[in-house]
Subunit: 137 residues, 2 copies
């Protein structure tokens, strides 16, 4: 598949507000958006670092995916998202090569991107997201 | 501190060869270097994705930092490295702001970069590396 860059890194945190403070005050980055993604049961905060976004994720529900991740592994990097040129083609290629798909078709993610997740069992342990920005096309 | 981009993402893997195969054959990335970093007890493989490198890490010793990480958390993203303009200034600023340092002074990392780690207890759960490329200066 054609990957142009790392679109974002998703980081699971206990407390969004405290985490934003660390990223802004220690690292000197700027939070440019806070967004709730209801179907993922998360509140998110975004920072731009060169080409790549950092997406902080706080669960709004202990039973949501981020709540469960933190319960099992603690705070930390949760998923890695690659920007692809053509998400339908990338999903088809991944499936053809034996990757277990979480999403068989693209769906809407944060910031209106078209996204699909690949299962970490097939991606050497990293929950992997593919993203295409169709907004700008 | 002045961060320009994400220098690399370090990913702990059980088997470097199999993992390289996934990154090349499924994601279509190219492994441009394999390097052993003796003092970290790892073999590493590098891929360029836009501005950012992916650094796969296989331990050469079950008691090394990557061996212990995998034993505790399984394969997955291990650390996040930011490119900074001035690593001595960045370390001093982090310390002044109360961040627990793993390295109080820069040391040589993979690819000859000057690097220093910040403790995940102070960085909202993410083992964080600061890097300056003094080779190109």
């Amino acid at each position: 598949m054609e990957i142009s860059h790392i679109e974002h890194i998703g980081i699971a945190v206990n407390n969004l507000e405290e985490s934003i403070k660390y990223y802004e005050e220690v690292l000197g980055l700027t939070c440019y958006a806070v967004e709730e993604v209801a179907d993922q049961r998360v509140k998110t905060a975004f920072f731009m670092v060169g080409q790549t976004k950092i997406e902080l994720l706080e669960t709004t529900d202990p039973e949501g995916p981020i709540g469960k991740f933190i319960e099992k592994k603690g705070q930390g990097m949760h998923h890695l998202a690659f920007a692809v040129k053509n998400i339908e083609a990338a999903i088809a290629e991944a499936e053809e090569k034996g990757v277990q798909l979480i999403d068989k078709a693209p769906r809407k993610g944060a910031e209106g991107l078209s996204i699909a997740f690949l299962h970490p069992k097939s991606t050497v342990g990293v929950l992997t997201e593919l993203c295409e920005n169709k907004n700008s096309k």
